[in-house]
Amino acid sequence: MRANCWMGKTDLKVQEVPDPKLLNDRDAIVRVTSTAICGSDLHLYNGLIPTMRKGDILGHEFMGEVVEVGPEVRNLEVGDRVVVPFTISCGACNSCRAGLYSVCENSNPNAAIAEKLLGHSPAGLFGYSHMLGGYPGGQAEYARVPFADVGPLVVDDDLTDEQVLFLSDIFPTGYMGAELCDIQPGDVVAVWGAGPVGMLAMASARLLGAERVIAIDRFPYRLRRAAEHTGAEPVNYEETDVADALQWLTAGRGPDRCIDAVGLEAHQSNRVLQAYDRTKQVARLETDRPHALREAILSCRNGGTVSVIGAYGGFVDKFPMGAVVNRSLTIKSAQCHVQRYLRPLLDRIRNGEIDPSFVISHTMPLDEAPQGYELFRDKQDDCTKIVLKP
């Protein structure tokens, strides 16, 4: 089969690789019909995530048709159309039973590597380094899905791939980001990052009752799209000072809830801090650039909540802990527990409350994945989200 393989930093190759085989009795094999490129895939592309190996298949947002099931899979049949969560979860450990699917205690065979960096290991993920399991991803014609009796969501044919694909990752992630904030009536919610996850967080904040939503980004096309689809008020951080803008917009209080949908490759307009973070990142003294997170913490109102759904891998410098302690801030974060949100969010799509396909800007064949990554990274051609068709 053909698959998009990571060959090194900014080096991708769509090439022939063996077809997947069942390895465990609860596996299924899925023929991929649609798959997307995620913002977090760019961290892999840019060489910022350790433990990648040449030849690793990328991709963790995918859906398709079940073509083979293992002997212990009782609730899926060949022919079922499924969306697959990016988190691999056994369903049986204490974490899965508590709904914390992204920290499944069993699904990472390489847990010992993750423990060194993170303290304990999270769940295995599709296509996201050997530290997180060494599982091939879904930017391919076929994918092996472990614990197929727990993860995949069967979807009926009246919804298009584009409408449901993002249940695999970015819609639940954005929704969880808003949910973690514990939005109260009258709340003003500010979201850093007007990319697909950020926009879905903004839309979700509205569904959860936010009175006003503010979008912070530097690309006018992204701010425009966010405003058009979620009613978010735009703040362009290259044209205005964010802290000032937020003070003005909230009459001095600061946003009640702040969502960091940017993560470790934050860009910032303060050249000195940008240079500091980039230099330390290159010298591997600091693994992540937390500019959006710092700003979210510093501008959040006293007693407010900062919800972090941007991807972070390791360690950050200059963390404003003083602000957190002195101003009663709550910081909440998680790698999305996708399985928990699949059915409730599918219902919202069915009810017409939201159509996540609004984030899509480009569709291209799998073979053009390398060009797609470049387009996505460089934000060319008003690129927001690329769907690949194998």
Partner: protein, 170 residues
């Protein structure tokens, strides 16, 4: 050489104790073991995988057996590879299942056999025990040792250092 590790498994003590007490189950989660079979008279014959397809074996007996609480075993006098171990089972707080604590001691002989023992335990006996318990948890909670294309044998210390690419196994 001493090593110890612990894990929490979401099953009642009776289930976890029962699984371990049947020592023939040990190779299903202890990678370095090829087989453990009863040899009569309360003794057990252990066979471990050694480099170059060879094996090392010894006789051991259960020296302590407190049902649902603790099992201890030791190789008999004169074994090539002196070793002993114990495992204790405690209900985990908050209804989370069973806490399993393992302690192992190996007295590696000198010479070639010593090197063989060192090799089959890996550079890190500590990591070996931790890996064993991780696999035990997977077997009891999910039914099997969990495999990935990067680690197609499942959790294994030596494999961590030499991952297969994350592509289907050919």
């Amino acid at each position: 050489m001493q090593a110890r590790s612990a894990v929490t498994i979401r099953h009642p003590v009776e289930v976890v104790y029962g699984f371990w007490r049947d020592l023939t189950n040990l190779p299903s989660f202890m990678n370095h073991l090829e087989s453990v079979e009863p040899s009569g008279d309360g003794r057990w014959h252990w066979t471990a995988n050694a480099p170059a397809g060879t094996t090392v074996d010894w006789e051991a007996e259960i020296v302590e057996d407190l049902p649902n609480r603790r099992i201890a075993w030791a190789s008999v006098e004169g074994s090539e590879v002196g070793n002993s171990g114990s495992v204790s089972f405690t209900p985990a707080p908050g209804d989370r299942g069973t806490e399993v604590r393992v302690e192992l001691t190996y007295d590696p002989p000198g010479g070639t056999l010593g090197k063989v023992v060192a090799k089959l335990l890996g550079e890190e006996p500590q990591q070996q025990v931790s890996d064993d318990l991780r696999r035990l948890k997977q077997v009891l909670e999910t039914g099997q040792v969990v495999l990935s294309e990067g680690s197609p044998e499942g959790t294994r210390f030596l494999r961590l250092l030499r991952q297969r690419p994350a592509q289907p196994v050919g």
